[in-house]
């Protein structure tokens, strides 16, 4: 059982702050590191894996520092985001080499290849592998020494649904065995399916942390914005603002539309058609205007 502690860690590149004063503790089981592109997930994982020095703060695994401490790799398995991996070797040669570098042999390599079900292609050159196959061989190389901490950066990127499911099963199994598994993703559904615990980072900051249900609630309860066009915008606006589910309305004269902000999503969706009917107003357009992931995330930061 291993616990990874990230304590007031920041990292900047020149004057770009990639990770900003993050403190979190990752314990046994599967944890998802969720955040939009450029949020600092890879930077954080690189620091967790001892491949990047924090500008300030410390990362420790069960009390031992990970930066400049090669011995810690006896306990860490890493699945990097980048593709490159000695493409001129066969899958088996690659995993055997990784085992040897841990002081282990072909037996450990064979076991790891069996775990990821890659025996059937193990004697093909890695350069001929599909993305999913590469991912599994990377996974095998990270598992050869039976590590207690597994770090995976965007492991599902480019995988087809079947490969994704297989890898999810495998990671779930690793978590159930008591390993500490941390993976990053920018897709909420992906993280939700797999992780018991979620850490959200946005723009380098630690935005939210906790059980996936809590995170999901934070995301769905946020104010929703809609663009509404109707036969009588002003009457509709007056009627909507009278209800507590509506927290703001703006008449966008240039667009010829209303911009409505609703706090109670469920109530607002029944309110809008009802109010329109009562006042004899025809609704022409109703479209959510900020469903992008970034806006969801930025809401979380503010929460």
């Amino acid at each position: 059982m291993s616990t990874l502690s990230i304590d007031h860690v920041s990292r900047w590149f020149g004057n770009v702050v990639a990770v900003n004063d993050v403190t979190m503790t990752i314990g046994p089981g599967v944890t998802g590191l969720l955040g939009p592109n450029g949020a600092g997930k890879s930077t954080l994982i690189n620091m967790m894996g001892g491949f990047l020095a924090p500008s300030t703060g410390t990362v420790t695994l069960d009390g031992r520092p990970v930066w400049r401490n090669e011995a810690v790799y006896k306990h860490i398995g890493v699945v990097p985001e980048r593709e490159a991996m000695y493409d001129f070797l066969t899958g088996r040669e690659f995993v055997v080499a990784n085992a040897e570098l841990h002081g282990l042999g072909a037996k450990a390599a064979a076991r790891a290849l069996a775990t990821v079900e890659m025996e059937y292609a193990q004697d093909r050159q890695i350069s001929t592998y599909s993305k999913g196959m590469r991912q599994r061989v990377k996974m095998a190389s990270a598992l050869v020494h039976d590590p207690s901490l597994l770090l995976l950066d965007e492991p599902f990127n480019g995988m087809d649904p079947r490969q994704r499911m297989q890898l999810m099963d495998l990671l779930r199994r690793m978590g159930d065995e008591g390993r500490t598994v941390l993976f990053s993703s920018h897709i909420l559904e992906e993280v939700e399916q797999l992780a018991r615990h979620i850490e959200v980072v946005v723009a380098g900051r630690h935005a939210a942390s906790g059980d996936f249900r809590r995170i999901r609630r934070l995301m769905t309860d946020r104010p929703h914005r809609y663009l509404v066009r109707s036969s009588d915008d002003r009457t509709l606006a007056a009627a909507l603002i009278a209800d507590p589910s509506t927290s703001g309305i703006e008449v966008d004269v240039a667009e010829g539309a209303l911009r409505v902000q609703a706090v109670d999503f469920g109530r607002f969706t029944t309110l809008l058609p009802k109010v329109a009917r009562e006042h004899g107003i025809r609704l022409l357009t109703v479209s959510p205007s900020d469903e992008s992931l970034e806006s969801v995330f930025s809401y979380l930061v503010a929460a």
Binding site: F51, F88, A97, E100, L101
Partner: protein
């Protein structure tokens, strides 16, 4: 200090098809030139020394050193696959030292062996010229490997920088500016060759003691510094 798995990975990367072709091209050219020269002018000690000194030692050895030295680590750092070495309980200096040994071995094989063959073709090792230049190539292989391995560790443009050093500094600048010659791996290895060859055909601007000290110092310092750099090498995300 030496890890056989790191060595194996490095050999396979260096001797992959494309690189092996590049590594083999210059030695082949040297031997073709030697055969042609011998056919045209017959065996002549001065000519032999000119070809081996002017082409083999001044051009071929440093270029092979650049390819092997930077190639032993640069591509891995560039494409990020070095993470598979760094994520192991393996001391960073062990990785550097092993890669140095491999780079030296490859440079020696692809530069000293053809130099010897070319020397034998040119004048049948008259006045020990073939042996002298072969030893110079062996000595230079060590220093070049260490220098270019360091370059491969610190710069993304190691190959270009290495070639600029090899061709501009060693070959061109060195022959124009007297001072530059003192700081030249080529001149240091010539000092060793001078000792071996008979007569005064093989000369160097540097004395043997100075050359020896500088060769050892450059090799040791470059290797030590490369180990240090690898220790603080950071793997940042793709920008």
């Amino acid at each position: 200090m030496y890890d056989p798995t790191v060595a194996r990975l490095t050999y396979r990367a260096l001797l992959g098809r494309r690189r092996a072709l590049i590594l083999g091209a210059l030695p082949l050219l040297l031997i073709v030139i030697s055969v042609a020269v011998r056919g045209l002018t017959g065996a002549d000690d001065q000519t032999a020394s000119d070809v081996l000194g002017g082409f083999a030692l001044a051009t071929m050895v440093p270029i092979i050193g650049v390819i092997a030295g930077t190639g032993a680590i640069g591509p891995e750092i560039d494409d990020g696959s070095v993470v598979y070495l760094l994520s192991k309980p393996l001391k960073r200096p062990v990785i550097i030292f092993t890669k140095l040994i491999v780079a030296i071995a490859v440079t020696m094989v692809f530069s000293a062996v053809p130099t010897m063959i070319a020397g034998l073709v040119l004048n049948g090792n008259g006045q020990q010229i073939a042996v002298a230049y072969t030893i110079a190539a062996l000595v230079a292989s060590i220093a070049y490997s260490a220098l270019f391995l360091l370059l491969g560790t610190v710069s993304r443009h190691a190959v270009v920088l290495g070639l600029v050093y090899a061709l501009v500094w060693e070959a061109l600048f060195g022959s124009l500016v007297p001072g530059a010659r003192t700081l030249s791996v080529q001149q240091w290895s010539l000092a060793v060759a001078h000792k071996v060859a008979e007569g005064e055909l093989v000369t160097s601007d540097v004395g043997l003691p100075t050359a020896t000290v500088l060769l050892v110092a450059v090799t040791v310092l470059a290797t030590w510094y490369a180990g240090r750099k690898l220790r603080s090498l950071t793997l940042a995300g793709e920008e």
